[in-house]
């Protein structure tokens, strides 16, 4: 299985993602934002970081970079595109998934482990996982998901919420919401479920001695789903 990680100026989780993808069997290629064409891939990843210094709005400048037209075409033709953290911000700014990520409610940069609950397994990312609650890492200043009421209705009607912030028992109450995100939303899909944007970093949870292994479960399952 082939994957590609896009590096934007200011990306800083691109190498971690490269290591994670290779560890679980992908043959990953790094792609520079200024390139025009994507290598032949089964999965494209927009990594975390601070693309273009988070100037203007997080992800806004990266969403207009040269490679993004190819990423958008790839996504529109049904290809799997995953955006993590800043990658999620780039996805919303490029219009591939609805909504936007605002400044965290209490204006603090949040860097900690959180629990998230998988809401919908009817998609290539979570299908066949035998677990609903995952412990993953978040590190962001703008993770406060927001969308209009009309968009929210559409997202809910189409089962587009991928993951919710919750506690270790999977309770998705407001008190387990780290950043003020609408309805505790931590990640969403596009309508067709081939594009996934999420704030937590699965690539930071792939080593038992360093962190945890819930990210490993995610990647192992993902590559099996794609095969």
């Amino acid at each position: 299985m082939k994957s590609a990680v896009i590096t934007f100026p200011g990306s800083n989780c691109d190498r971690d993602m490269h290591v994670a993808l290779n560890k679980f069997g992908f043959k990953n290629k790094m792609v520079w934002h200024n390139d025009n064409e994507l290598p032949k891939s089964d999965l494209i990843v927009l990594p975390g970081g601070f693309s273009y210094g988070d100037y203007l709005r997080c992800g806004s400048m990266a969403s207009k970079s040269k490679i993004m037209q190819s990423v958008i075409n790839f996504a529109k033709s049904g290809g799997l595109v995953m955006g993590i953290c800043n990658g999620f911000q780039i996805l919303v700014e490029s219009g591939l998934v609805p909504g936007i990520l605002l400044r965290n409610k209490y204006l603090e940069f949040i860097c900690k482990n959180v629990f998230v609950k998988i809401d919908n397994k009817d998609n290539p990312y979570f299908k066949n996982l035998d677990k609903e609650v995952f412990e993953l890492h978040i590190a962001h200043n703008e993770g406060n998901y927001f969308c209009t009421n009309d968009q929210l209705k559409e997202i809910q009607d189409n089962n587009q919420v991928a993951i919710y912030y919750c506690n270790d028992n999977g309770k998705t109450e407001e008190k387990f919401n780290p950043n003020g995100s609408l309805k505790n939303i931590a990640g969403i899909f596009n309508k067709e479920k081939n594009v996934l944007g999420m704030m937590p970093h699965p690539e930071r949870m792939i080593d038992k001695s360093l962190s945890g292994e819930d990210g490993s479960l995610f990647f192992k399952n993902l590559i099996n789903n794609i095969k």
Binding site: R103, K105, L107, T148, G180
Partner: protein
């Protein structure tokens, strides 16, 4: 021509920075404040001498990049 545009958050969008500024102003003794909303200001010098055309160009920029219309509104406030 120089075109000035301001970008403001829509009414229903939470503005935590504006809230903190409000609280700080309150702490400094400015007690007559109802609300503070923070926005952005752009001054763009375009190679166009027709004011209407210059405005159109900057409006296009606002629609496509400078503002995110999910949460923000823009307004051209000056053309000179």
């Amino acid at each position: 021509m120089k075109v000035s545009a301001i970008i403001t958050l829509k009414k229903d969008v939470l503005d935590p920075q504006g809230k903190v500024i409000h609280q700080t102003l309150d702490g400094m003794g400015f007690k007559d404040v109802n609300e503070v909303r923070q926005g952005k200001y752009f001054e763009i010098d375009v190679k166009e001498n027709d004011p209407q055309k210059a405005q159109k160009i900057v409006e296009d920029m606002c629609n496509k990049l400078l503002a995110n219309l999910v949460i923000e509104n823009y307004k051209i406030i000056e053309i000179q």
